[in-house]
Protein backbone atom coordinates (compact mmCIF):
# COMPACT_ATOMS: atom_id res chain seq x y z
CA UNK A 1 0.00 0.00 0.00
CA UNK A 2 1.21 3.50 -0.91
CA UNK A 3 1.37 6.35 1.64
CA UNK A 4 -1.27 8.35 -0.24
CA UNK A 5 -3.77 5.47 -0.14
CA UNK A 6 -3.06 4.97 3.57
CA UNK A 7 -3.44 8.69 4.38
CA UNK A 8 -6.82 8.85 2.62
CA UNK A 9 -8.16 6.02 4.79
CA UNK A 10 -6.70 7.08 8.14
CA UNK A 11 -9.88 8.64 9.53
CA UNK A 12 -11.93 5.59 8.59
CA UNK A 13 -9.21 3.39 10.13
CA UNK A 14 -9.35 5.33 13.41
CA UNK A 15 -13.16 5.39 13.46
CA UNK A 16 -13.43 1.63 12.82
CA UNK A 17 -15.25 2.17 9.54
CA UNK A 18 -13.05 -0.12 7.38
CA UNK A 19 -13.59 -3.74 6.45
CA UNK A 20 -11.15 -6.34 7.82
CA UNK A 21 -8.96 -6.50 4.69
CA UNK A 22 -8.42 -2.76 4.34
CA UNK A 23 -7.89 -2.46 8.08
CA UNK A 24 -5.13 -5.09 7.92
CA UNK A 25 -3.49 -3.41 4.88
CA UNK A 26 -3.29 -0.12 6.75
CA UNK A 27 -1.95 -1.78 9.92
CA UNK A 28 0.83 -3.40 7.88
CA UNK A 29 1.67 -0.09 6.21
CA UNK A 30 1.67 1.81 9.51
CA UNK A 31 4.13 -0.64 11.02
CA UNK A 32 6.74 0.17 8.40
CA UNK A 33 5.97 3.88 7.69
CA UNK A 34 6.82 6.37 10.47
CA UNK A 35 5.39 9.34 8.50
CA UNK A 36 1.92 7.83 8.18
CA UNK A 37 2.09 6.65 11.80
CA UNK A 38 2.84 10.22 12.89
CA UNK A 39 -0.25 11.51 11.02
CA UNK A 40 -2.34 8.71 12.52
CA UNK A 41 -1.16 9.56 16.06
CA UNK A 42 -1.92 13.26 15.45
CA UNK A 43 -5.43 12.51 14.19
CA UNK A 44 -6.14 10.14 17.09
CA UNK A 45 -5.03 12.78 19.61
CA UNK A 46 -7.03 15.45 17.76
CA UNK A 47 -10.36 13.64 18.20
CA UNK A 48 -9.85 13.46 21.98
CA UNK A 49 -8.68 17.06 22.13
CA UNK A 50 -11.71 18.29 20.18
CA UNK A 51 -13.98 16.84 22.87
CA UNK A 52 -11.95 18.36 25.70
CA UNK A 53 -11.91 21.69 23.91
CA UNK A 54 -15.69 21.79 23.37
CA UNK A 55 -16.31 20.60 26.94
CA UNK A 56 -14.32 23.57 28.24
CA UNK A 57 -16.27 26.26 26.34
CA UNK A 58 -17.21 28.93 28.91
CA UNK A 59 -20.95 29.34 29.47
CA UNK A 60 -22.37 32.88 29.60
CA UNK A 61 -23.56 33.76 33.10
CA UNK A 62 -26.99 34.95 31.96
CA UNK A 63 -27.73 31.91 29.76
CA UNK A 64 -30.23 30.17 32.05
CA UNK A 65 -31.92 33.50 32.86
CA UNK A 66 -32.48 34.07 29.12
CA UNK A 67 -33.82 30.54 28.64
CA UNK A 68 -36.21 30.85 31.59
CA UNK A 69 -37.51 34.22 30.43
CA UNK A 70 -38.15 32.79 26.94
CA UNK A 71 -40.08 29.89 28.47
CA UNK A 72 -42.04 32.27 30.70
CA UNK A 73 -42.98 34.32 27.64
CA UNK A 74 -44.06 31.13 25.88
CA UNK A 75 -46.26 30.18 28.86
CA UNK A 76 -47.80 33.65 28.83
CA UNK A 77 -48.48 33.42 25.07
CA UNK A 78 -50.00 29.95 25.46
CA UNK A 79 -52.35 31.24 28.16
CA UNK A 80 -53.30 34.16 25.86
CA UNK A 81 -53.91 31.74 22.96
CA UNK A 82 -56.21 29.61 25.13
CA UNK A 83 -58.25 32.72 26.03
CA UNK A 84 -58.43 33.85 22.42
CA UNK A 85 -59.53 30.40 21.24
CA UNK A 86 -62.23 30.28 23.93
CA UNK A 87 -63.51 33.73 22.93
CA UNK A 88 -63.53 32.81 19.23
CA UNK A 89 -65.39 29.58 19.96
CA UNK A 90 -67.95 31.51 22.01
CA UNK A 91 -68.38 34.05 19.18
CA UNK A 92 -68.89 31.34 16.56
CA UNK A 93 -71.12 29.23 18.78
CA UNK A 94 -73.36 32.12 19.83
CA UNK A 95 -75.57 32.13 16.65
CA UNK A 96 -76.30 28.44 17.24
CA UNK A 97 -77.26 29.18 20.82
CA UNK A 98 -79.48 32.08 19.66
CA UNK A 99 -81.73 29.62 17.79
CA UNK A 100 -82.83 28.30 21.15
CA UNK A 101 -84.01 31.79 22.12
CA UNK A 102 -87.73 32.31 21.28
CA UNK A 103 -87.39 36.01 20.37
CA UNK A 104 -84.39 35.49 18.08
CA UNK A 105 -86.04 32.46 16.47
CA UNK A 106 -88.96 34.74 15.54
CA UNK A 107 -86.52 37.29 14.05
CA UNK A 108 -84.78 34.54 12.05
CA UNK A 109 -88.14 33.31 10.79
CA UNK A 110 -89.13 36.85 9.77
CA UNK A 111 -85.86 37.27 7.82
CA UNK A 112 -86.40 33.88 6.17
CA UNK A 113 -90.02 34.67 5.26
CA UNK A 114 -89.07 38.10 3.81
CA UNK A 115 -86.24 36.58 1.77
CA UNK A 116 -88.49 33.82 0.51
CA UNK A 117 -91.22 36.33 -0.55
CA UNK A 118 -88.61 38.46 -2.31
CA UNK A 119 -87.27 35.39 -4.16
CA UNK A 120 -90.77 34.33 -5.31
CA UNK A 121 -91.50 37.87 -6.59
CA UNK A 122 -88.25 37.89 -8.52
CA UNK A 123 -89.02 34.53 -10.12
CA UNK A 124 -92.48 35.76 -11.16
CA UNK A 125 -90.90 38.85 -12.74
CA UNK A 126 -88.36 36.76 -14.62
CA UNK A 127 -91.04 34.56 -16.17
CA UNK A 128 -92.60 37.73 -17.70
CA UNK A 129 -89.54 38.21 -19.94
CA UNK A 130 -88.77 35.99 -22.92
CA UNK A 131 -86.07 33.32 -22.35
CA UNK A 132 -83.71 35.09 -24.81
CA UNK A 133 -83.83 38.33 -22.81
CA UNK A 134 -83.01 36.56 -19.50
CA UNK A 135 -80.14 34.56 -21.07
CA UNK A 136 -78.67 37.74 -22.69
CA UNK A 137 -78.96 39.63 -19.38
CA UNK A 138 -77.22 36.75 -17.60
CA UNK A 139 -74.33 36.72 -20.09
CA UNK A 140 -73.91 40.53 -19.90
CA UNK A 141 -73.87 40.54 -16.09
CA UNK A 142 -71.36 37.64 -16.05
CA UNK A 143 -69.11 39.59 -18.48
CA UNK A 144 -69.37 42.74 -16.32
CA UNK A 145 -68.47 40.73 -13.20
CA UNK A 146 -65.34 39.26 -14.84
CA UNK A 147 -64.31 42.69 -16.14
CA UNK A 148 -64.85 44.22 -12.71
CA UNK A 149 -62.67 41.58 -11.05
CA UNK A 150 -59.95 42.13 -13.66
CA UNK A 151 -59.98 45.91 -13.08
CA UNK A 152 -59.76 45.46 -9.30
CA UNK A 153 -56.83 43.05 -9.71
CA UNK A 154 -55.01 45.50 -12.03
CA UNK A 155 -55.54 48.36 -9.59
CA UNK A 156 -54.27 46.32 -6.64
CA UNK A 157 -51.09 45.13 -8.39
CA UNK A 158 -50.15 48.75 -9.13
CA UNK A 159 -49.77 49.48 -5.41
CA UNK A 160 -46.18 49.16 -4.21
CA UNK A 161 -45.67 48.07 -0.62
CA UNK A 162 -42.40 49.01 1.06
CA UNK A 163 -41.19 46.41 3.52
CA UNK A 164 -40.29 47.79 6.92
CA UNK A 165 -37.03 46.38 8.21
CA UNK A 166 -36.47 46.76 11.94
Amino acid sequence: MECLQCMERLSEYLDGELDANKYRDIEVHLQCCPDCRKVMDDLAALSKEINLSIASIPIPTNLTVRIFSAIEKEQHNTAKDIWLTSILLAVFASPVLLIFSRTFSSVFHLVYATGSAFWRSLMTLVTLFSPWVTVTMGIISLFLMVMGLYIIKTLLTKFEVNEVVL
Partner: protein, 170 residues
Protein backbone atom coordinates in the same frame (compact mmCIF):
# COMPACT_ATOMS: atom_id res chain seq x y z
CA UNK B 1 -24.89 12.70 29.01
CA UNK B 2 -26.25 11.23 32.26
CA UNK B 3 -30.01 11.15 32.37
CA UNK B 4 -32.41 11.47 35.24
CA UNK B 5 -35.45 9.53 34.06
CA UNK B 6 -37.65 10.66 36.93
CA UNK B 7 -36.92 14.29 36.17
CA UNK B 8 -37.86 13.79 32.52
CA UNK B 9 -41.04 12.00 33.53
CA UNK B 10 -42.00 14.86 35.86
CA UNK B 11 -41.19 17.47 33.22
CA UNK B 12 -43.37 15.55 30.75
CA UNK B 13 -46.24 15.69 33.24
CA UNK B 14 -45.95 19.49 33.29
CA UNK B 15 -43.96 19.89 36.52
CA UNK B 16 -42.33 23.33 36.20
CA UNK B 17 -39.69 22.66 38.86
CA UNK B 18 -38.60 19.50 37.07
CA UNK B 19 -38.32 21.38 33.78
CA UNK B 20 -36.30 24.13 35.48
CA UNK B 21 -33.93 21.46 36.80
CA UNK B 22 -33.74 19.93 33.33
CA UNK B 23 -32.69 23.31 31.90
CA UNK B 24 -30.07 23.71 34.63
CA UNK B 25 -28.73 20.21 33.98
CA UNK B 26 -28.53 20.43 30.20
CA UNK B 27 -27.98 24.12 29.41
CA UNK B 28 -24.20 23.71 29.52
CA UNK B 29 -24.20 20.82 27.07
CA UNK B 30 -26.71 22.54 24.80
CA UNK B 31 -24.80 25.84 24.75
CA UNK B 32 -21.41 24.18 24.19
CA UNK B 33 -22.75 22.13 21.31
CA UNK B 34 -24.43 25.17 19.77
CA UNK B 35 -21.21 27.17 20.14
CA UNK B 36 -19.17 24.35 18.60
CA UNK B 37 -21.45 24.44 15.56
CA UNK B 38 -22.02 28.17 15.22
CA UNK B 39 -18.82 29.58 16.71
CA UNK B 40 -20.55 32.76 17.70
CA UNK B 41 -21.57 33.56 21.26
CA UNK B 42 -24.83 35.40 20.66
CA UNK B 43 -25.92 32.92 17.96
CA UNK B 44 -25.19 30.06 20.36
CA UNK B 45 -27.25 31.77 23.09
CA UNK B 46 -30.17 32.31 20.71
CA UNK B 47 -29.90 28.71 19.54
CA UNK B 48 -29.89 27.42 23.14
CA UNK B 49 -33.02 29.45 23.84
CA UNK B 50 -34.73 28.06 20.73
CA UNK B 51 -33.69 24.49 21.59
CA UNK B 52 -35.17 24.66 25.10
CA UNK B 53 -38.37 26.23 23.75
CA UNK B 54 -38.71 23.30 21.35
CA UNK B 55 -38.05 20.87 24.19
CA UNK B 56 -40.64 22.66 26.36
CA UNK B 57 -43.25 22.53 23.58
CA UNK B 58 -42.77 18.88 22.67
CA UNK B 59 -41.32 16.94 25.63
CA UNK B 60 -44.79 15.57 26.42
CA UNK B 61 -44.83 13.92 22.99
CA UNK B 62 -41.70 11.86 23.74
CA UNK B 63 -42.94 8.26 24.07
CA UNK B 64 -39.81 6.63 25.44
CA UNK B 65 -38.07 8.66 28.13
CA UNK B 66 -34.91 6.57 27.69
CA UNK B 67 -34.62 8.14 24.24
CA UNK B 68 -34.39 11.64 25.75
CA UNK B 69 -30.62 12.12 25.16
CA UNK B 70 -30.88 11.04 21.51
CA UNK B 71 -33.97 13.20 21.06
CA UNK B 72 -32.32 16.25 22.65
CA UNK B 73 -29.23 15.69 20.50
CA UNK B 74 -31.45 15.64 17.41
CA UNK B 75 -33.21 18.87 18.44
CA UNK B 76 -29.83 20.60 19.02
CA UNK B 77 -28.48 19.37 15.68
CA UNK B 78 -31.58 20.38 13.73
CA UNK B 79 -31.69 23.88 15.24
CA UNK B 80 -27.96 24.47 14.73
CA UNK B 81 -27.85 23.12 11.17
CA UNK B 82 -30.87 25.24 10.27
CA UNK B 83 -29.12 28.31 11.67
CA UNK B 84 -25.94 27.48 9.77
CA UNK B 85 -27.76 27.13 6.46
CA UNK B 86 -27.18 30.18 4.30
CA UNK B 87 -25.45 32.04 7.10
CA UNK B 88 -21.86 33.18 7.10
CA UNK B 89 -21.15 33.59 10.79
CA UNK B 90 -18.44 35.64 12.39
CA UNK B 91 -15.29 33.55 12.51
CA UNK B 92 -13.41 35.81 14.89
CA UNK B 93 -13.12 34.15 18.31
CA UNK B 94 -15.32 35.70 20.95
CA UNK B 95 -13.98 38.07 23.57
CA UNK B 96 -14.89 35.69 26.41
CA UNK B 97 -12.58 33.03 25.07
CA UNK B 98 -9.73 35.48 24.70
CA UNK B 99 -10.19 36.75 28.22
CA UNK B 100 -10.15 33.20 29.53
CA UNK B 101 -6.91 32.47 27.69
CA UNK B 102 -5.01 35.12 29.61
CA UNK B 103 -6.05 33.87 33.02
CA UNK B 104 -6.02 30.10 32.69
CA UNK B 105 -3.43 27.37 33.17
CA UNK B 106 -1.22 26.23 30.30
CA UNK B 107 -3.15 23.07 29.43
CA UNK B 108 -6.20 25.24 28.75
CA UNK B 109 -4.25 27.18 26.15
CA UNK B 110 -4.24 24.13 23.91
CA UNK B 111 -8.04 23.80 24.28
CA UNK B 112 -8.54 27.45 23.40
CA UNK B 113 -6.14 27.09 20.49
CA UNK B 114 -8.16 24.11 19.25
CA UNK B 115 -11.42 25.98 19.65
CA UNK B 116 -10.06 28.82 17.58
CA UNK B 117 -8.81 26.32 15.00
CA UNK B 118 -12.31 24.82 14.82
CA UNK B 119 -13.57 28.33 14.11
CA UNK B 120 -11.21 28.60 11.18
CA UNK B 121 -12.68 25.52 9.49
CA UNK B 122 -15.36 26.01 6.87
CA UNK B 123 -18.95 25.55 8.12
CA UNK B 124 -19.21 22.22 6.29
CA UNK B 125 -15.99 20.94 7.84
CA UNK B 126 -16.85 22.17 11.32
CA UNK B 127 -20.36 20.68 11.30
CA UNK B 128 -19.06 17.24 10.34
CA UNK B 129 -16.33 17.28 13.00
CA UNK B 130 -18.82 18.34 15.68
CA UNK B 131 -21.37 15.77 14.53
CA UNK B 132 -18.89 12.91 14.64
CA UNK B 133 -16.38 13.71 17.36
CA UNK B 134 -18.59 15.62 19.82
CA UNK B 135 -22.14 14.49 19.11
CA UNK B 136 -21.12 10.89 18.47
CA UNK B 137 -23.21 10.32 15.34
CA UNK B 138 -22.11 7.48 13.07
CA UNK B 139 -21.05 8.03 9.43
CA UNK B 140 -24.39 6.67 8.24
CA UNK B 141 -26.40 8.89 10.62
CA UNK B 142 -24.46 11.95 9.45
CA UNK B 143 -25.14 11.03 5.83
CA UNK B 144 -28.86 10.88 6.62
CA UNK B 145 -28.84 14.10 8.67
CA UNK B 146 -26.97 16.14 6.07
CA UNK B 147 -28.57 14.35 3.11
CA UNK B 148 -25.21 13.58 1.52
CA UNK B 149 -23.69 10.29 0.28
CA UNK B 150 -21.75 8.13 2.74
CA UNK B 151 -18.59 8.57 0.66
CA UNK B 152 -18.85 12.36 1.02
CA UNK B 153 -19.13 12.00 4.81
CA UNK B 154 -15.92 9.93 4.87
CA UNK B 155 -13.92 12.27 2.66
CA UNK B 156 -15.28 15.46 4.25
CA UNK B 157 -14.52 14.30 7.79
CA UNK B 158 -11.00 13.26 6.82
CA UNK B 159 -10.37 16.55 4.98
CA UNK B 160 -11.67 18.50 7.99
CA UNK B 161 -9.40 16.66 10.43
CA UNK B 162 -6.37 17.09 8.15
CA UNK B 163 -7.23 20.78 7.77
CA UNK B 164 -7.48 21.14 11.55
CA UNK B 165 -4.12 19.42 11.96
CA UNK B 166 -2.56 21.84 9.45
CA UNK B 167 -4.06 24.89 11.20
CA UNK B 168 -2.72 23.70 14.57
CA UNK B 169 0.74 22.97 13.23
CA UNK B 170 1.07 26.45 11.64
Amino acid sequence: MEIDLRLIEQAQAGDQKAFTQLVLNYSGYVYRTAFAFLHNESEAEDASQEIFLKVYRSIHRLNDIHAFPAWLKKVITTVCLDRMKGKQLDLVPDSNIESVSTTTPDHWDRQIELREALGKLSQEEREIVVLYDWQGYSYQEIATLLEIPLGTVKSRLHTARMHLRTILSD
